[in-house]
Symmetry: C2
Subunit: 226 residues, 2 copies
Amino acid sequence: MTTETAAKPVSANRTTSLTDRAYRALEERIVTLDLAPGSVLSEAQLSEQLEIGRTPIREALQRLAREGLIVILPRKGILVSDINPSKQLLVLEVRREIERMMARAGAERRSDNERQAFLEIAEGMENAARDNDDIAFLRFDNDFNVLLARASHNEYAVGAINLLNGLSRRFWYLHYKKAADMPLMARLHASVAKAIAEGDADAAANASDALVDYVETFTRATVGGA
Amino acid sequence: MTTETAAKPVSANRTTSLTDRAYRALEERIVTLDLAPGSVLSEAQLSEQLEIGRTPIREALQRLAREGLIVILPRKGILVSDINPSKQLLVLEVRREIERMMARAGAERRSDNERQAFLEIAEGMENAARDNDDIAFLRFDNDFNVLLARASHNEYAVGAINLLNGLSRRFWYLHYKKAADMPLMARLHASVAKAIAEGDADAAANASDALVDYVETFTRATVGGA
DNA sequence: AACCTGATTTTGGTATACAATTATCAGAGG
DNA sequence: CCTCTGATAATTGTATACCAAAATCAGGTT
């Protein structure tokens, strides 16, 4: 019963498949622009680089293609998709709906533990805004996304939002340094977290909309600036 | 003109990959309950049945798993997921948001051709309601979904809704004969199509909500009835 | 310049083999 | 009878070699 594998000494994980590892490695490299938009990839090349067979590579690539991070041109090649602000607005159009729904669901369905975690994130976000602490903000932002996914108690909403996360994260990674008002974003996040903690679904929905409003304004600004 | 396999039309297969064909075949069999919930599948068995190698079968299965139609138990097997009304309500919770958004977007962005097509579907739906014509309703329902996906001009919304279509269609296939009020559903569809054709985004959103309201009521009824 | 032509590269797909894990089942022992 | 044990089978995960189809490109020919 108590198969307590206390130590995993050798290689880190037998628990994750090579497909998952390939997916995560490639997603990270694309989102952080290490693999720039327009880059040409090939299964054989990636298989050699990552020291993983073609089968897991293929499966990881198909998932990335579904998420819009790469484009597979049959019998021609694979290329990293370009960053398109107008498409980014379409992504936001969908994110707005799902995030509002998740905020509502979180406010109505969060557990006691989750309520406490939202409060801590709200506090952390307000501190990050006050101290202008980028690192803290990024950490709490990630925590917030994970927590909201869990607290919504809707696996299908999580699946839908995960489909969009890659493109969103990449756009953010490219542009946030330029013109993003981090303290404002942190405060907007704090509002959502607080409303969810308080169980006020309407307030959570409005706060979520306000957050997406700002992100959309920011995104539109990059279109005009281009 | 080379190898004449009498039973198989070899015609249109040049354009679709075997992965797609396997996906479509399996999705159809699962949605129509030909592969019943709880059925145990295996890659080797499917590969033999469909006369397709394991690679395309695997890729199709991973897509089906993402959509929640099957569950892959690593190194154990694959089984067709069960039909769970409470999960179905979670699916609807997400569908409601995306469909409303697509209805809005369709009203604002439909082309002239699409506007005309929506009008034809609205008329067809009203006729189907009047004549109590199930077949016509199913046909127009499919046309409507395809058209709305196109007219929304948002590929990411389409991707998100496609994730949910399998589970929705299966639930519908199982239950619609029992208690669904087809004429009412047809009229609700007609309202959405009409509002989109008229370019009235708010009316389209309200009509979409009304449609999902009915589907949700119907779904809840199956929970109580079970 | 325009047009073949063949080599090369790429993904799509098949077949096979092996590894890791789990289920199954026969049989021994109580 | 029941329970434990160990061998065996079954299943997915992964690697690899190979072929097919299609796109690309570099020459060569006209």
